[in-house]
Symmetry: C2
Subunit: 208 residues, 2 copies
DNA sequence: TAGATTGTTAATCGATTAACAATC
DNA sequence: TAGATTGTTAATCGATTAACAATC
């Protein structure tokens, strides 16, 4: 049972490895991979060991095999269906990112309360009215949700998601949701991230 | 010199405190604030101590004073101007979030290579062609940038930002940027976040 | 005063770093 | 074989937790 940080790094490794594969490379050393992800070689080795894959002292890691190891660790073999709630600008950007791109983890339904937005197909994804959430989630076996509604509606939307059987929520609302502990919540806090980068930028420019 | 995690938590505390203030509350105990941010009371007390503010044993923290303490710690008194590069769906969502909302940290210019998008005003923010980046950043004293361009253009865009004098970048590209250490970079990795929430959801539903 | 909370110190826990033997 | 890298173990570092005195 690796830590959630290890999970996050594995996800990133996989994307970098896929790009290296596209560039025609077949193997990679821990320090090379570390450089691409702004990490350390020891960290990479620990993470790879955690999923039970082994490298070779002279060739490092076989990229294709490592990608497959990460996949069999991170991905649900049966696939996981994702619901997006909130079809504003952010929602549409998320549809472009996650609709139909990856077979094992893909947005299969979008929801909004605005009647003008429903019953359309955006980025290949069908849009439904939010009050059909429970019904559609049941029919499509959706277990993961993305909450991209305005701040004021975020808490009640999240509760409706839980009601609909969703057990993991990617949350874009600027304030943490109050949900039962059985629900996995990951906050994408853009305000905090911007304030942090602004603070760190000021510290850096003071030094330099 | 608090850790970057402390910085992130302070940013979140401030938003929660502002909402409590709107609800008419004037003071808050560490465990109450902790509950709102899914943290611990001890953590809250440590963070507050780190910025030199003190509470009272009987009344906890004065909300208005604590907000002000956090502000004088996090915010640049002179304000920091932010540039957004990439006016797609994501960029427009970011403009809605960050354009003109907060006087001390606000997007003051947006950039895109698409001629159809420039020389307009979106969410009160003027749009420029990307090749004017250096010029506009100099004129408007911009030190912070948001990178919201498509993945393929992310690295060269980030380099142009650095060239233009930007020292802190909020990055939405799915692969880490290769930049000098003097630049503060914060990654908003939506792919990792979604994969992580999907993984954790599966673990939770296995248990339950 | 009694009671709950705060700030502070000591103990614990986990993660990172460093050192080293094993391997191709 | 020589050399660089891997996997493993011990040492260090930092952060969290627990215990306690100070305070309103």
């Amino acid at each position: 049972m690796p830590s959630s940080k290890t999970i996050a790094r594995l996800s990133l490794y996989r994307r970098v490895l896929n790009r290296l594969l596209e560039q025609g490379k077949s193997n990679v050393f821990s320090h090379q991979l570390a450089q691409h992800v702004r990490g350390t070689a020891a960290q990479v080795r620990r993470d790879v060991m955690a999923i039970g894959y082994s490298g070779s002292p002279t060739r490092g890691y076989d990229i294709e095999q490592l990608i497959q190891s990460i996949g069999s660790f991170l991905d649900d073999p049966a696939g996981q269906a994702v619901a997006l709630v909130g079809i504003g600008n952010l929602g549409r950007a998320l549809l472009a990112y996650f609709s139909g791109r990856r077979p094992r983890l893909s947005i299969v339904a979008a929801f909004d309360t605005d009647p003008a937005k429903v019953n359309r197909v955006i980025q290949g994804c069908r849009c439904y009215p939010t009050d059909k959430l429970a019904e559609v989630c049941r029919d499509k076996h959706i277990t993961v949700g993305i909450n991209a509604v305005p701040a004021g509606a975020a808490q009640e939307t999240a509760e409706a998601m839980v009601e609909a059987g969703i057990v993991g929520i990617l949350n874009f609302a600027p304030i943490p949701l109050q949900l039962p502990d059985e629900i996995a919540v990951e906050d994408m806090d853009m305000t905090t991230a911007l304030e942090m980068v602004a603070y760190l930028a000021r510290q850096k420019s003071r030094k330099g």
